[in-house]
């Protein structure tokens, strides 16, 4: 009943581990899949190793966290070993980033044999200059990155966008025009900051960090809803999903699958099982026989 497919990838259910969460090694990716996720997305990696920011890299705020891990990763060569270690039956999505279209393309090409899909992180709100959201805030740059990757690989590509733009629909359309096979909406919000009042210091070493968690769900659902009306390609929803109700909201808004990240802080990887069971019960009660029937329902009669 929960089975679905996105870009011809079969998923046993429409939940995915979001990028940046428990995704640094084969072991944790396998674990999350065994815990119930329908697919897993790796932590974003790049051509060269990157240590990321100094701690503190995470601090809790009302309704979630803000984080500036800084895209730490061991580089694509080391990461390949992790990709190889992921069990064969796990639908695997590599999240990658770079500082130029060419770099994105090189990273993508070197891992495409190991994965079912590539997710382009052009939207990290705390990346170093030239990476991350500075790409995804520019429709032209987004277009060039997506085009370069599409030219380089045969696996499907999803472009993950930042909500921190004046008009996300414009960026979404340019990703679609460049050939992106799917969109992932949204990366973390803001960015935000937290100042310690005893010392008057920003808590995060990077001062700013992306907001994630239940608090950003309304914005994420709106982005999905808004973009759904303007593109043809499938949307993977992300942002604040904590239970099956949240997943249903994303599906109704137009997402074909939902990613779960920060909520693992509250409920552990077992959250995937909980969401799937709740979703199945909901579908039975409400008379849905497939996930597809639910996608975009909130647009009817509006």
């Amino acid at each position: 009943m929960l089975r679905t497919r996105i870009c011809n990838i079969e998923l046993r259910n429409p939940t995915m581990l979001a990028a940046g969460v428990m995704g640094s090694m084969a072991s944790s990716l396998n674990r999350v899949y065994r815990a119930g996720a329908g697919a897993v997305v790796t932590k974003s990696f790049s051509l060269e190793p990157n240590e990321g920011y100094k701690n503190p890299t995470t601090v809790e705020v009302t309704g979630g966290i803000i984080n500036a891990i800084g895209l730490s990763n061991p580089g694509v060569e080391a990461f390949k070993e992790e990709l190889r270690g992921v069990d064969d039956d796990v639908p695997l999505i590599a999240s990658i980033y770079g500082s130029s279209p060419e770099e994105f393309a090189r990273v993508a090409a070197s891992v495409e044999d190991y994965v079912d899909m590539i997710e382009l992180n052009v939207s990290c709100p705390h990346a170093m200059a030239g990476c991350g959201a500075s790409i995804g805030q520019d429709a032209g740059l987004t277009f060039r990155v997506v085009s370069a990757v599409k030219d380089a690989v045969g696996v499907p590509v999803s472009t993950k966008l930042t909500p921190n733009v004046t008009d996300i629909v414009e960026i979404a359309k340019s990703a679609e025009d460049a050939g992106s096979d799917a969109l992932t909406l949204i990366n973390s919000l803001g960015p935000g900051m937290k100042i310690d009042i005893k010392t008057a210091k920003p808590v995060l070493s990077n001062a700013f960090g992306g907001m994630s968690g239940p608090a950003i769900k309304p914005v994420a659902v709106r982005c999905v809803y808004d973009v759904y009306r303007s593109v043809e390609i499938p949307i993977i929803g992300a942002g604040g999903v904590r239970d099956f109700r949240d997943a249903v909201e994303f599906l109704f808004a137009g997402a074909v699958a939902v990613q779960v990240g920060t909520a693992i802080m509250y409920d552990g990887p077992e959250i995937f099982m909980g969401i799937c069971r709740g979703l199945e019960r909901f579908m039975i009660e409400e008379g849905f026989s497939s996930v597809d029937e639910m996608v975009g329902l909130a647009h009817e009669g509006v």
Binding site: N55, N73, G75
Partner: protein, 264 residues
């Protein structure tokens, strides 16, 4: 919403050795802490996980013991009573106690969580033996404190400057007491050898692991271990011996801030 550094005043500082100091803070025990758990300590420039080495319910105090090894720890050693540190937590799964007879094996600063555990065990009426190991006699930690608590101390130094000359697992091999359980903390290669000895004797043992930490709240994935994928900050840092059977990297490698494997 406890995952925000709370600014605590350093209430006292204990010189445990030339390189180790214990920093004492008032603690509101509505936020329970058990031995083996850790806190994230923020010195306004960096933030690191630190085991709790003292849990004093009567005085409503906790202590963390820090060995001066690098930039962060040196900066913290510069602090005086009355200075502030940010503390969030506690995090992770601490030690469990069972049976009557407990053996502790601690190496270097690894004695920190075991010191808190020893006092808790004694308070519960357990008999506690401890192999306190270090490279040299100056680095043996908490021996007086544990003796006062009623723990039977067996010191052990690499260079023989105090007690047994040799490694902890060698000292352990010579002990023939009957133990219901063991708790071990120290450099991972030491724990690896100690585990072999204890496995052979069939003593249920808990090991406290250390990994590079970022978020400490179970999401960043930085501290996950191969091959179970457990998060040291959430499922750990304390694991039972049988659990470690699934942790292929135990005793072999850890990961740096970038996630690269670093052999021990």
């Amino acid at each position: 919403m406890g995952n925000v550094p709370e600014l605590l005043e350093i209430k006292g500082i204990v010189e445990e050795s030339e390189t180790v100091r214990t920093f004492i803070f008032d603690w509101d025990f509505r936020r329970e802490i058990v031995p083996g758990q850790f806190v994230m300590v923020w010195n306004f420039s960096d933030e690191k996980p630190m085991s709790v080495s003292l849990i004093d319910h009567k005085r409503s105090e906790i202590g963390i013991s820090i060995r001066r090894v690098g930039e962060f720890t040196s900066a913290v050693h510069e602090l005086d009573e009355g200075d502030l540190l940010g503390v969030r937590g506690p995090y992770g799964r601490g030690f469990e106690l069972m049976g009557r007879n407990l053996i502790l094996v601690g190496g270097g600063i690894g004695m920190a969580p075991l010191a808190a555990l020893a006092e808790e065990a004694v308070a519960r009426g357990m008999n506690v033996d401890a192999v306190v190991a270090a490279r040299t006699s100056d680095e043996l930690l908490f021996t007086e404190r544990l003796e006062n608590a009623g723990v039977n101390i067996h010191t052990c130094t690499d260079d023989g400057t105090c007690g047994f000359q040799g490694f902890a697992h060698e000292r352990l091999s010579e002990m023939d007491g009957e133990y219901d359980m063991a708790a071990v903390c120290g450099p991972e290669p030491m724990m690896f050898h100690v585990k072999a000895v204890l496995d052979e004797r069939g003593i249920p043992t808990q090991f406290s692991l250390e990994r590079y930490m970022k978020c400490a709240v179970g999401i960043c994935g930085q501290c996950c271990v191969d091959g179970t994928g457990w998060r040291v900050c959430a499922e750990g840092p304390v694991f039972w011996d049988h659990e470690l059977r699934g942790v292929g990297e135990f005793g072999r490698y850890r990961r740096d801030a970038a996630g690269r494997r670093i052999s021990w």
